[in-house]
């Protein structure tokens, strides 16, 4: 702590969407706020801010996590993927194209979190083949607009290589 009893800033660096980023920040900044407020990566959304809705989902070292409960300082040195990292320039990832094709969103607020959880799911061999299996694997992402059916269809399309 400094003389005002405020914790001193720490320097943290992450690889975000393939690019090294360095930040000086106090310990009480969560990764969600660091991404949105300090790095201008506003694709990741703040929904409930308490790990109950999944809108803030990012991948850390390939694993889906709620960035609202992740302190930035804890993840010094980690590999982070946000929704901004899915497309390759103007070329959408197959998952994004499938979401478009299946109308897998309405307001779009939960969509980045859905895409990140779905991205992890696509690489996860332990998820069964049925729609129910996909729904269960995606249950950490809430959608108030009710786009669930189309989200599952989009994911299944990509999984089945259609």
């Amino acid at each position: 702590m400094d003389s005002n009893n405020a914790p001193t800033d720490t320097t943290v660096s992450f690889r975000i969407n393939g690019k090294m980023q360095q930040l000086d920040l106090p310990p009480n900044v969560v990764l969600l706020d660091a991404l949105r407020n300090r790095l201008g990566l506003t694709g990741t959304k703040k929904g409930c801010d308490h790990g109950q809705c999944g809108a803030c989902t990012v991948l850390i070292n390939g694993e889906a996590v709620n960035s609202c409960l992740a302190l930035a300082v804890v993840h010094d040195g980690d590999d982070i993927t946000t929704v901004e990292g899915l497309a390759d320039g103007d070329t959408l990832a197959p998952l994004q194209a499938a979401f478009l094709e299946h109308d897998a969103y309405q307001c779009g607020y939960c969509t980045p979190g859905q895409l990140m959880s779905a991205t992890e799911l696509l690489g996860n061999d332990s998820v069964g083949t049925s729609d129910a299996d996909v729904a269960e694997a995606m249950s950490g992402n809430i959608c108030r607009c009710g786009a669930y059916k189309n989200i599952v269809s989009a994911i299944q399309q990509v999984r089945q290589g259609r």
Binding site: A6, P7, P27, V30, E63, L69, A70, V73, M138, I142
Partner: protein
């Protein structure tokens, strides 16, 4: 009000900013304990409980000791045929471990029916044991709550007490249920919590780790100030057993249990040889049903006897205004779990003699 301006990039003046704390990262259990020093500090593992409650200003540590880099993430054979799980093993990893799936199926099922994928990827074994109640009065930081502020009263007893409130182990001071699924499975299996502090190491029987609220609901467990959970070791699995975890809730996923049951059954022909029953969602701590188990040993594995066990297990339960339904619901969970565990035990035994 402006947020995130150039003059105030850290939002320090915003009314909803998380409290400040200092932070250090431990590289070993020894350094973690030394840094913690038992004073206004908290160990930070997955953060899925701690950060949630710091944001609500319900937990108020001044110093966080990050133990994510401490080398406690192994799952290894334990003493006497059991399994030793490092405190930092993530819930996802534990649920998918081959030995756990094969020999402690109920534990894998319990973990996978808990929380969400995102939470399971970060939540740790040690953290899951230490999670706090979901009572809305505890969490709102302001209502009378004997757990948060001893002596102030319990708002739930005469208030809203449906989803996350117990009917077993309650007192006039606190009725909040213990929310963990993992702990219910571990209670059924039998386990030991291994801790380390400045005074050395201790082993705590899992059944004794969590405390009933009694007249001191602010005391939830047996840990002394700077003690850190390093491992949880499971007892050896019951041979040829079938096991299952049944979790009943308003929606089919991503919700705490209204009532849940972990059951482990081994058979001798059509007769129950060994049985374990533990409950979630209905107890103020993970609830082992010793009397119901004793009544089942040597009995036929039939629905009639499962129903008797369920009655025994829920005897003495105290309903509150909104959660009386949990008593019959828990009985159904017990009967179903015993039925399914017995069916699996049957299949296992058949496989052996094939």
């Amino acid at each position: 009000m402006q947020h995130g301006t150039q003059a105030d990039p850290t939002h320090e003046k915003a009314p909803d900013t998380m409290r400040q704390f200092s932070y250090s990262r431990a590289e070993s259990t020894d350094s973690a304990i030394k840094t913690h020093a038992g004073q206004s500090a908290a160990y930070l593992a997955g953060g899925t409980t701690l950060m949630d409650l710091i944001k609500l200003d319900v937990m108020q540590p001044e110093r966080l000791v990050d133990v994510n880099r401490v080398d406690l993430d192994a799952i290894e054979p334990g003493q006497d045929g059991g399994l030793t799980i490092g405190a930092m093993v993530r819930n996802t990893a534990l649920a998918h471990d081959e030995t756990v799936q094969r020999d402690y199926t109920v534990l894998s099922e319990a973990l996978l029916q808990g929380a969400s994928r995102q939470l399971r990827n970060r939540a740790t074994t040690g953290g899951n044991v230490m999670q706090r109640v979901r009572c809305s009065y505890f969490r709102d930081g302001i209502s009378p709550c004997n757990k948060r502020e001893p002596g102030s009263g319990c708002s739930a007893i005469e208030g809203h007490n449906r989803e996350v409130f117990a009917v077993l182990g309650t007192s006039e001071h606190c009725i909040a249920s213990h929310p963990s699924d993992m702990c219910v499975a571990m209670a059924a299996i039998g386990a030991t919590v291994h801790v380390q502090g400045s005074r050395g190491t201790r082993d705590i029987d899992f059944g004794e780790f969590h405390k009933l609220p009694g007249d001191s609901p602010q005391i939830e467990h047996d840990l002394h100030n700077d003690e850190l959970i390093t491992h949880v070791s499971l007892d050896a699995p019951i041979a040829n057993a079938g096991s299952t975890y049944i979790k009943l809730r308003d929606r089919s996923s991503y919700q705490f249990a209204l009532a849940s049951c972990a059951a482990i059954v081994s058979l001798d022909g059509e007769t129950i040889a060994e049985v374990r029953i533990a409950l979630g969602g209905v107890g103020t701590k993970p609830w082992r049903c010793h009397e119901a188990e004793a009544g089942l040993v040597g009995q036929p594995a039939t629905a009639e006897h499962f129903a008797v066990a369920a009655e025994t297990a829920m005897q003495g339960a105290t309903p509150y205004k909104h959660n009386a339904f949990k008593i019959p619901l828990a009985k159904k969970a017990i009967a179903r779990a015993l039925r399914d565990a017995s069916a699996r035990a049957h299949a296992n035994t058949k496989g052996d003699t094939a």
